[in-house]
Subunit: 274 residues, 2 copies
């Protein structure tokens, strides 16, 4: 079966999008289409130029015998700002404020279109780190971690606050919740994370950072290297933060539970975009 | 800026893949490319024929003033069978067997490439149902539900076994766990699911079906219509199953905890593919 250029281009775009952040050998397409390498290279050139012109990511080609093509679905600063403003718009509904200064986020964490955008945003700023896994805390962090992992083509490792038989042998640590000062437990299945992994920690909400500090301690037990911490919402209502180096999409402040009032503004993540 | 046909085709393929199961008006592309509708229709014809020939899904075009194009990333029966066999291969490692006849699944539930395939498989068989949401149970069902929801372009609704302040007001029910006969609680945030929704229930593992039966009862409280139940693994080691109408990718049987032995075979889901 012969393929026309237009058909090859549809297939390649689909294939690259289905395998983000993965080196696809040129030979894959050469075999598939029974075409000379030079024609395949021209096809890829068209795909690359279009995706880059439209700011839909970058396509990296590597030369040589083991050469190939990698699609990196990065996001531009302009789009990142639009996504952050969309999140701010959604969070500004006053009914979201919950007792204790929390925000209701469950609907956002179940919205696939928004999650894909937020995931691509976070993935963009950590794409140059040599990561082995995305680490998150059950329950609401999971969807966000999935959306980042999808783009970076990495496994998701879920830390739980309870020990279940379905986790097999586990490592657990105790930590002090930053806001309530209660002692809580975190549990991670031994088999889900190899020692010496490079990890990115992702979660939906950070206040004092007690949970994330707990994750850091648990990562120590696995000899893991924490290459970054990224949250959707950080709360400014904290005297002393336990975590200093992190990125946040938005920042919650001026919480007035009595009048159901609060402010949401841009977090620090845009400073990571050039 | 003028776009060549090859560039339009790259952009359209990308756009359709980024918006699965969503009607994109033709006018979207007409405006974007400043091209006559007839040219755009020819572009779409090329994209459609290629995706369909390569069994990467179907592209549905609707005529008329409100006409447009919808990409449905369906999976063929052959690919579905390959995915099921891949899951069987992964599950057959003997160390997966856990006390109580459970299987260790956490690594699969954190593997984005596998999840995307399993999600597309499950989404394919429920694509003709008019669904409003994918419902799952924390913790391990969430990633699977996300992968299905991504394809169907639907929100994910997460039922929890504990009541957290971050859920806002909730509805809860008690249910009897099918295997342990213990009474447990399930909680769902009121705001995450509208009354009278059509839902698909997705979970990673089903034994007697006690949890899923609990989900059904909770769905009753929300006046929701359960249009399907789909699990990754069902365990055959059950005298009486509480749920009768469901699909499973694989089936676990002949569990011998003493000798760490068990069998994994194809579930019933392939019968839904024609």
């Amino acid at each position: 079966m012969r393929y026309k250029r237009s058909e090859r281009i549809v297939y390649m775009t689909h294939y690259l999008m289905s395998h983000p952040n993965k080196l696809i050998p040129l030979t894959h397409f050469v075999k598939k289409f029974k075409q000379a390498k030079s024609s395949i290279s021209e096809d890829i050139h068209i795909v690359r130029e279009t995706l880059q012109k439209e700011k839909l990511g970058t396509v990296i080609t590597t030369a040589g015998a083991s050469g190939g093509v990698t699609y990196r679905p990065t996001m531009s600063k302009e789009e990142a700002e639009a996504v952050i403003n969309e999140v701010i718009g959604l969070l500004q509904e006053k009914e979201r404020l919950l007792p204790g200064g929390y925000l209701f986020l469950s609907d956002l964490m179940g919205n696939p279109e928004l999650l894909n955008k937020v995931g691509r945003l976070i993935a963009t700023i950590y794409m140059d780190e040599e990561l082995d896994a995305i680490v998150t805390i059950a329950t609401k962090g999971i969807s966000l971690a999935n959306s980042v992992a999808n783009i970076l083509n990495l496994p998701v490792v879920v830390i739980r606050k309870d020990n279940k038989v379905t986790e097999g042998s586990t490592v657990s640590i105790n930590y002090v919740s930053g806001s309530s000062r209660k002692i809580e437990t975190m549990v991670l299945s031994k088999r889900t994370l190899q020692e010496n992994s490079n990890v990115l920690i992702v979660d939906d909400f950070m206040r004092a950072g007690g949970s994330i500090n707990g994750v850091m301690n648990l990562m120590n037990e696995f000899k893991a290297h924490v290459k970054g911490v990224s949250v959707l919402v950080e709360s400014k209502e904290v005297k002393q933060r336990l975590i200093e180096d992190y990125t946040s999409l938005v920042r919650l402040s001026d919480v007035d539970e009595y009048n159901q009032d609060f402010k949401v503004e841009q977090g620090n993540v845009l400073s990571k975009f050039s």
